[in-house]
Symmetry: C2
Subunit: 370 residues, 2 copies
Amino acid sequence: MGPGPSDVNPRVLRSMSTPLVGHLDPSFVEIMDEVQELLRYVFQTDNQWTLPVSGTGSAAMEACIGNLVEPGDSVLLRTEGYWGDRMAEMARRAGGTVVSLPTAANDPVGMAEYERAFAEAEIDVVGICHADTTTGIRQPNVGEMTDVAHDHGAYVIADCVTSLGGVPVHVDDWGVDAAYSAAQKCLSAPPGASPLTISDRGMAKVLDRDEDVRSWYLDLSLLEGYWGDERAYHHTAPITNTYALREALRVAAEEGIEARWDRHARVSERLVEGLADLGLSMNPPEGLALPSLNAVRVPDGVDDGAVIDHLREAYDIEVAAGLGGLSGEIWRIGTMGYSARDKNVAYLLDAMADALAAEGYEQTTATTPA
Amino acid sequence: MGPGPSDVNPRVLRSMSTPLVGHLDPSFVEIMDEVQELLRYVFQTDNQWTLPVSGTGSAAMEACIGNLVEPGDSVLLRTEGYWGDRMAEMARRAGGTVVSLPTAANDPVGMAEYERAFAEAEIDVVGICHADTTTGIRQPNVGEMTDVAHDHGAYVIADCVTSLGGVPVHVDDWGVDAAYSAAQKCLSAPPGASPLTISDRGMAKVLDRDEDVRSWYLDLSLLEGYWGDERAYHHTAPITNTYALREALRVAAEEGIEARWDRHARVSERLVEGLADLGLSMNPPEGLALPSLNAVRVPDGVDDGAVIDHLREAYDIEVAAGLGGLSGEIWRIGTMGYSARDKNVAYLLDAMADALAAEGYEQTTATTPA
């Protein structure tokens, strides 16, 4: 129940024992087709260029940035925090110039600051974090932000790492030019093959580049040959991860994407209520908390690491500490995919009460003595 | 029995059903230690910086090139053929200038041409293909080539994709500065986590770069934090692939690396003899054929694709066609890792005789009628 990997559905684990076929075998090509079609469903898009990148989530992130950002492009990003650092670092290495979007660490991007950034500078590419794994905050208006970017001729990349498959993602309705995710969050597959989708408009920019993408491995204009109609060899795909992703996507499709979003919302609500009963409060502002990644404030005087160790050692539960500026400030509790279940929440709440008691924490909410 | 993926040992397939733990979990850190130690064994090296790259073999290739090649470096490569094309493309995208090493397509690099290249130009980095998956040729003198490069202050990258775990590789004895491989060849694990090793001298060049590596995902100076003593989060590792690679490396260590090399040599010899009985000859020059990837000449008048289809449809056997300039000229038959077994060879030879007969091929070697 950390920020990923989530528990993998046993059906998905079993799919990984399937003997391997070649990455150019006709039977594997059928699997590729199915994975692409199912990815379009969870992304809610008709984008032709929808495929798994051969690496973990950061590889999909770098594929989006490295392809859409050309040397000299200016890239608008919130740069504070862990996500912003990484995105800025990748944009810079792609030859882009980063324009910082001023935002308080614990808030989503505000529209006033966002529109001001476009008024003040020529922007070519915008990075939006739909679901921030480090803060537990959801950006609620990706579509509106995309409209502003498009009015200025810019391209939008959306980070859906901690939302895809658990929190509503609407690639076509939002109009974003590219979006990426990871397998080990709300899709509950092992990391190693990571969803990416890019619009025709986005792909046109990639195919029209003056200078080649700086990574051969992640160059979408070359991957087009393998994942497009031609099925030409580019590199060996991570075959077993593709089996696993297919099975995980089938599980999601059987449940239905809306039902899956509802389940995540309901399970997270139950967790947040239980944590409140223990006297704990959430990190994100009201109404902006991700249902997949619950960022909880560490109460004063409690050692976050001791609670994490206690949960792992006494209960076999994994939750994560805060990263960067939020180190020591929050715990990050995942309710993602197969892990988003009532029984996990009940078990975690009992364990958390025990871990807090072991740390000498006295909850501020009155309880009736047993 | 294509050029990879090879058949995965059932022990390795089973290991992939292991439930996931976090990539920073203490139990996973122990697995990382074990994988690194076992990789050192198969690479025959004491290099501290020995780790699996989070991607397939081409990602490990790009990690070596992208880290060791700095903008302005000149990179000596044979550029004809499939391997050379890819290596040159990556070197160019890393900002390097490619110096072509003239070599006939079906020969290893000759020492005279190699030494002449150093006399004629300042060389910073050299790429050597120890085992060429496209031609089936083994470069027999990697150590000698490395000595020459070091005499000129250059750094050497060795491609061991189709040799590691099946054909003798001696990273420390050869003195190469970096070597990489893939999981799905002679190690018989699924692709997705790919062996890489880099010497202290090589790593010193990486850490001393003026300009950052162009890929954040593959930057070894950042991966150092995760795979080194610090175990700091960089990106999510492909956890299940790491389980699989560990199990595959354990299988290799139990067999013993020398015994494994001997098995590959013996099984390939049996295959080559059987193919000769069918009147077929090998592509590589005498003594330079890889025991892991057997490149066989397609006889005149035989349609290579029809034989490949027949083997797959009637026998469930996968062999591969030639790539690039060798398209239509050769078949590529893998005897790698778990696939390097006598029973596979016997089955393939029977199937090949049938497939050739179906194509109307009459073998030139006399046989006794039944």
